[in-house]
């Protein structure tokens, strides 16, 4: 798939990959052998009818391709861009054993983008069923909430989404940067969900503005919790509150949601030093580092305590980051931050690590090398160690069960919590995971909520 040149794109916030041309899409679609076993569909957490949509692309029936895709996936433009297809549908592709798997994700993206450009030529969607008179409150407008809302609205239930921020979309808006996922695409997909009759109430922090029990008492028949894992973790080492040390959430929210890269046209500032160190090795760390580069930093480091093989980020994003000039410091762990006496971070004391026996996660455990302390001079730090669910909902709702990590306990197949009339899914249940797993959870919960509502 064509991409902007690495040296050029490292200086702008435009999308890195520019997408297939029609010819490329037709050629890639014709590689699919339409095998009867359809293993790719099983590899997809929301079971998109992959061979069918690819067949439609091959035959040039683009509107049909859109319909097939959207039948199972309300957010194809998002998934085509950020899903880890390499470990899902494409990992199951029959062609994998022979040569490269069909590039399902890229075709999905192509179809979604075709729809955006050709809205007018799309046939009207299936009419909505008559209203059931049942009301559902969906908390959070990330992929879990949007998916649950869309599926419930398609069954005729009246759905209201309550979102804490002033914009819907969750991590898709505040976390994942414009150059990987243009915000216009996210807003288009939200508009699609709204076109199904879903109401989106912004600026509503559930637990503060209303509690779950107040919603249930005010006429909602069921509640779906899709509030994600929004609480940032810090290292807990000395000096971490110095100026210039950001959580990845703050760094990315200022950049993406508040558009600090357009400061001062947009009001939200960000202080970008010449040398930026991003701590962590996941997608969030890659995004933080690549934003730093685009915001004008001269040297950007990824500091990760294990080795390259253990990086949890998608391979594609690691390669993108390396190509753009991000410097990787593996087997390195910060132990202390140094400042200039006026409160600004100037350096980071680190230790070198080596890998020992595998730990509970199956990855080899990093162990400190004795006497390996050294100082990295840096002006900005982004801490991307991961997130856990914000405790607000659990603290203000009686009768929810949570784990020691703060995640809400819900049935794996139905999303049902132990609390009457309350379901949950996405990162709030699993901890930080993926867009598509959150969507899958939203879908399963919607099916179970629908079953419950129709039994009333």
């Amino acid at each position: 798939m064509p991409r902007q040149d690495a040296a050029v794109r490292a200086k702008n916030f435009k999308e890195v990959a520019t997408g297939y041309t029609p010819e490329m899409a037709a050629e890639e679609a014709s590689r699919c052998i339409q095998c009867p076993k359809r293993p790719c569909v099983e590899g997809c957490p929301v079971n998109v009818d992959i061979p069918e949509f690819i067949k439609a692309v091959r035959e040039g029936k683009m509107a049909d391709a859109v319909t097939v895709l959207k039948n199972k996936n309300a957010l194809p433009g998002v998934c085509g861009r950020v899903c880890p297809q390499e470990s899902q549908c494409e990992a199951k592709c029959t062609l994998l054993k022979q040569k490269a798997p069909v590039a399902i994700g890229r075709l999905e993206r192509y179809v979604a983008d075709w729809e955006t450009k050709n809205k007018a030529s799309m046939p009207p969607g299936a009419p909505l069923p008559p209203p059931t008179g049942k009301k559902v409150a969906v908390i959070g407008s990330g992929p879990a909430g949007l998916t649950a809302a869309a599926d419930l609205a398609k069954k005729g239930h009246r759905v209201t989404i309550f979102e804490a921020l002033h914009v819907g979309g969750g991590v898709l808006m505040y976390g994942i940067p414009e150059f990987r996922l243009p915000k216009e695409i996210v807003q288009n997909e939200i508009n699609f969900v709204k076109s199904l009759g879903v109401e989106l109430v912004l600026d509503a922090v559930i637990g503060k503005t209303d509690t779950i029990d107040e919603l249930l008492n005010s006429g909602y028949d069921a509640v779906f919790l899709g509030t994600g894992a929004g609480l940032p973790m810090f290292l807990g080492v000395p000096g971490e509150n110095a100026n210039g040390i950001y959580s990845a959430n703050e760094w990315l929210t200022r950049t993406n949601l508040m558009k600090a890269y357009l400061f001062p046209t947009y009001d939200t500032p960000l202080h970008v030093g010449k040398k930026v160190a991003v701590i962590g090795g996941g997608n969030v760390a890659m995004d933080g580092a690549r934003c730093a580069l685009r915001l004008g930093a001269e040297e950007v480091y990824i500091v990760y305590r294990r080795s390259e093989a253990e990086l949890p980020a998608r391979r594609e994003e690691v390669e993108n980051a390396m190509e753009e000039g991000i410097i990787f410091k593996f087997l390195t762990n910060p132990t202390r931050f140094l400042d200039d006496g006026k409160g600004w971070v100037t350096g980071m004391e680190c230790v070198e690590m080596e890998l020992g026996e595998p730990d509970a996660s199956g990855r080899r455990r990093p162990i400190v090398k004795k006497g390996s302390e050294f100082v990295m001079n840096i002006n900005t730090v982004v801490v991307a160690l991961g997130t856990t669910p914000n405790p607000l909902i659990a603290a203000t709702t009686d009768g929810l069960n949570t784990t020691s990590h703060g995640t809400v306990i819900a049935d794996e197949h139905t999303g049902k919590t132990v609390k009457d009339k309350v379901w949950a899914g996405g990162d709030i249940v699993t901890g930080a995971a993926t867009v598509i797993s959150a969507m899958g959870a939203g879908k399963r919960a919607a099916a179970d909520i629908d079953k419950y509502l129709t039994s009333l």
């Binding site: 002033h166 709204k194 503005t209 209303d210 001062p264 009001d267 914000n390 405790p391």
Partner: protein, 282 residues
């Protein structure tokens, strides 16, 4: 798509300090003394926190009072009755803990008579004897004197230049009250960080519990970014969800002051950029 929050009344209380009365029933229903809202003027605006100075659940209204200090507050100062803003979220933060302590002192510095009002009122309603101290730079900057007097058993007014009330900093009458022998069970001090810090220093030798409302830079106001971290008793707290009220004697004031200065350069740039674009307003 975005809902607009209407300013039912906009008025300038004293030079550079403005009041907005918002139509915001969802927030008004829940607001308690000590809580705040985060507001965004428009699509390009930043999210800024402002304390809820008053709320009326029946009328569905929320009052905020703000001082012009930088680009966003200057720009807000230009809005008129009938204008709307893009976003208003709340009530955020933990409410001030109210109970019958006995005799309490409420100290308000500058614009902070606004955030102190609902707390003083709630303390009074809970049965406390409320002594209030209202301090300002000069006479021109004093507002809500009568309102605060109405919810206090005693009100002391000070100005830095002596143009009204007593010529003193708020810490002077505060110290005298503590020395007087009457048992003071709680001091609530809200105002500029430096004032809160000195109130804390004043009460510490007397061992009187002192609550301050911290004002670090915030973004979301819901515990999601950690921008608002403060150190209290050696522990890192997120002021937006763990506060904004904290035990004044435990606060790391130097850290707060340093973090508040994070964007001094950028704030200057924003201001200059805005002033050249709309020179007529500056």
């Amino acid at each position: 798509m975005t809902k607009l929050y209407k300013i039912l009344t906009a008025k300038t209380l004293v030079p550079n300090i403005h009041l907005f009365l918002f139509d915001a029933p969802r927030i008004a229903r829940k607001a308690k003394a000590g809580q705040f809202v985060v507001l965004t003027k428009d699509e390009k605006g930043e999210r800024i926190p402002l304390t809820i100075a008053d709320s009326d659940a029946k009328a569905g209204t929320v009052t905020i009072v703000f001082m012009e200090v930088g680009k966003t507050t200057r720009e807000l100062g230009l809005l008129k009755t009938g204008d709307s803003i893009m976003s208003l979220t709340g009530p955020l933060g933990l409410p001030t803990h109210i109970e019958n302590y006995g005799t309490v002192v409420c100290v308000a510095g500058g614009f902070a008579v606004a955030p102190v009002m609902p707390i003083a009122r709630a303390l009074k309603q809970a049965g406390n004897k409320v002594i209030s101290i209202l301090g300002a730079r000069n006479k021109e900057l004093i507002f809500w004197e009568d309102e605060l007097r109405n919810v206090s058993d005693k009100l002391i007014v000070t100005t830095d230049d002596g143009s009204y009330g007593r010529k003193a900093l708020v810490t002077e009458p505060l110290k005298e009250i503590l020395e007087n022998g009457e048992k003071i069970s709680l001091v609530v001090a809200i105002g500029p960080s430096i004032m809160m810090k000195f109130c804390a220093k004043t009460t510490q030798p007397f061992g009187v519990k002192t609550i301050v409302s911290l004002n670090p830079i915030m973004v979301d106001g819901t515990g999601m970014c950690g921008c608002c971290r403060v150190s209290v008793g050696g522990q890192t707290k997120f002021a937006c969800v763990d506060g904004p009220d904290f035990d004044a004697h435990q606060v790391d004031w130097d850290l707060l002051a340093a973090r508040q200065r994070t964007y001094v350069e950028e704030e200057k740039q924003a201001m200059e950029n805005w002033q050249c674009q709309c020179g007529k307003h500056s």
